[in-house]
Amino acid sequence: MSRPHKKSRVGETLINWVKEISSYTSGKVGLALLLIFVVISIYALVTLPPNFKYIWSNPRCWQDYPELAPPAWVRMLGYQRAAHKVVTYDTPSRIRVYGPYRVFIYSTYYDLDVKDYPQDLIIELKDVRVPKVSGRAVPVMLRMYVKRPDGKVIKVIDTTLYFPKNVSVAYTNQSLVISANRKLIVSEVLYKVLNSTSAQLSPAVAVNYVFGKLRLNASKVIVTPLEGTYKVYAELYYPASSGIINPAGFVRLVIVGDCYGLLGTDNIGRDLAQAILYGFPIALMIGFVTAVASTLIGLFAGVISAYYGGLVDEFLQRLIDVMGNIPLLPFLILLVDVTPVEYRLQVIMLVLVVFGWGGLAITVRAMTLSIKEEPYIEAARAIGASNARIILRHIVPQIVPYATATLVFSVPGAILAEAGLSVLGLEHGWPTWGRVLAAARMTGRYDVWWWILPPGILLALTSLTFVLLGMALETIVEPRLRTR
């Protein structure tokens, strides 16, 4: 047991601990993992928008993402998945004059280099200038085309933008998102590619026709991917008399591929990498807050129980007894279920704190009972030290190493509890690893590996981190477990 420390030595003690922990292999690995987790958490807090919780649960924010797309790097492993391409413009690529119109053209090229089709074609517009002719807002035509490698041009969007009367710039808050018109594509393909009126085309797979070689077999159409370079361009028709030179502050052409980002997407196109990233700080927060609170309560309940004895002791011990006899999981599920969704995460943490301190308190009580009888405690009392001083300066510091080991061991408990309850089906509104898994489970897609594996592996890694650290700490505070 270490001697009681002065406050100025706390930093030194911490450094010593880190040194001692890292003298064990498990401790070294644990510390390294913890460091990585903390760094990623900070990165997540800095980079992700503060309202990510709402973005995640709002399907509108994920319209121009592919659905159920594997990570983009599977292409490098030879998987046939069409790439995802996003091009953003603040000025048009080209301007041409067409009768009384000034046509603003946004264009890009897309390479289809695999035997697969993109999922969709999307144009996104924001801060659109409203053309005024003699003081009145006039509508604007929007057209989008795909020029195929075989030279055929297919119109995929043909629409008109109508603007509110009294504004000069429209769609300032939320962007306008328009995806390819399936029915238009079908008629275009019939007329321009197949030259047929009897062929059976299905609007559901219209995008495949745009990016496919079509062959007629009786009236059935057989589609195979047409590899090569496509030109995708959108045209905005403004009346030349409106004098507008740049029609929109933000235009985005999206060729929605069949793979996305680092970790793929889920069934409504949400970027899983973002949820996984956001899960880091939340998991650490849930784990640490719960573990620190229950450890503190257990530490002081144990010390007080032993130090004061009598009725206080009896009461605390019976309380621990009763709590130890309550099957926690059913109780937790019921409590979370009766709680309104926005407070559920807090309730999970609270219940785990309230029920989590008993075990530590029993051990701490036993330790305090023996420390209490040491001569220096008696000496402290003889020179008139207060109870609070004796507890805080002479007893607690000796128990802190043991309590720290317990704390570290108990961090994953709350993280796993939250994940488990989410997977069970109890919503709490925060995007966590558990929620990602829960969504996969609710849709029954156990086969989507990029949806199932990363959150589970991260949950396991988080607990592994603290188990390893705890094991190293345990060997330090319990020398009998030492192997050397």
Binding site: I326, L329, G420, L481, T483
Partner: protein, 357 residues
């Protein structure tokens, strides 16, 4: 204090805990207005059905309104919604404590139990309990047996490569959420390889008519239970190894083991006669507590496998807000757990002569 007094005191403490659990559960559901909302929904449903039947019977509209109003008031009185929540909850607590668990209102609960609606809560529990035992309790027993066989040897060989391997395995599986492994196992062995089933509800049929064709049914039950059991054993064997190793390690360093070693006794003899004997109380605690907790502790795992046991029953009762089943099951979970703890107290006194309060 004599042994009798000690046990009596423990029994009282455990009973108090039991009663508190039932009270707390009823209070949680009553004070939050949870039960009121549930009963209200049931009443609305019944009133609507009554109204439809009246309208079909060509009763005059004014008469219908009056009859419906009367019927609604009758139901409100019947379910006690006109009274404050504690007047509703207290009789419910009393009925539960005296094992009058009542009848479930939920179709899903009857479905999990595998019998036609409506089902008595006590029947549902009696039907689901053996299924949980078949899956989880057996898995825990397998873990305990393997760990007791191997654990002491690991402790004795600590520091070797074998010990390191086992400790790493323990750390790794301790970190693995069992329900997540379950999801993976269902996908790999169920959907992908087709070795094991993907729909586990079907086990009900074989359990219900077990005695008609015992061997055939046993084979089928094993077909259904194997994957969940393997999943649980893989995840929990590690922590079993680790805790038994730790308990034995504490004993190995004791003086009397040193003496035995110094006397030149063979290792096997020391393990079985000296080490295991002294390590038995904590080991037994571990075994019994995990067996007692196995009835209530696998709600998530059971639900992932959709295994029609106590855990799934509880979760279905929660999702369908079936108050009688929730209360009855909580009572059962606690009773099983508490009986386990009491057996432990009794065993302790016989196993460890030092325990005298």
């Amino acid at each position: 204090m004599g042994v009798g007094t000690v046990l009596a005191r423990r029994a009282v403490a455990l009973t108090v805990a039991l009663i508190i659990v039932v009270f707390l559960t009823a209070i949680i559901m009553g004070a939050t207005g949870y039960d009121k909302a549930v009963w209200q929904a049931i009443i609305n449903e019944q009133v609507r059905a009554y109204q439809t039947s009246l309208l079909r019977g060509h009763t005059a509209p004014e008469k219908v309104r009056e009859l419906v109003q009367q019927y609604k008031e009758k139901l409100i009185k019947l379910y006690g919604l006109d009274k404050p929540w504690y007047e509703r909850s207290l009789p419910l607590v009393w009925r539960t404590l005296t094992f009058h668990l009542g009848i479930s209102d939920s179709y899903e609960v009857a479905d999990v139990a595998g019998v036609p609606y409506p089902v008595k809560v006590s029947d549902a529990i009696l039907l689901c309990l053996p299924r949980t035992i078949v899956m989880i309790t057996i898995a825990q027993l397998i873990c305990a047996l393997i760990a007791l066989r191997v654990g002491p040897t690991i402790a004795y060989k600590r520091g070797t490569g074998f010990d390191r391997a086992i400790v790493s395995y323990a750390a790794l599986t301790n970190a693995l959420p069992v329900w997540w492994l379950g999801m993976l196992m269902i996908y790999i062995f169920g959907f992908r390889l087709g070795i094991f089933p993907t729909d586990y509800r079907a086990v009900i049929a074989y359990m219900m008519n077990f005695w008609s064709k015992p061997l055939y049914n046993l084979a089928n039950i094993m077909y259904y239970a194997t994957l969940p059991i393997i999943t649980i054993v893989i995840t929990f064997l590690g922590s079993w190894f680790y805790s038994i190793r730790a308990m034995v390690l504490r004993v190995v360093k004791e003086d009397f083991v040193m003496v035995a070693k110094a006397k030149g006794l063979p290792e096997k003899y020391i393990i079985s006669k000296h080490v295991l004997r002294a390590a038995i109380p904590p080991v037994i605690t571990n075994v019994i507590l995990s067996l007692a907790a196995s009835i209530s502790g696998y709600i998530i795992t059971e639900s992932v496998f959709d295994w029609p046991g106590m855990g799934t029953l509880y979760w279905v009762a929660i999702t369908t807000a079936d108050i009688t089943t929730i209360l009855g099951l909580t009572y059962m979970f606690t009773i099983v757990y508490i009986i386990g703890r009491f057996i432990l107290e009794v065993l302790y006194i016989f196993l460890d002569p030092r325990v005298r309060y």
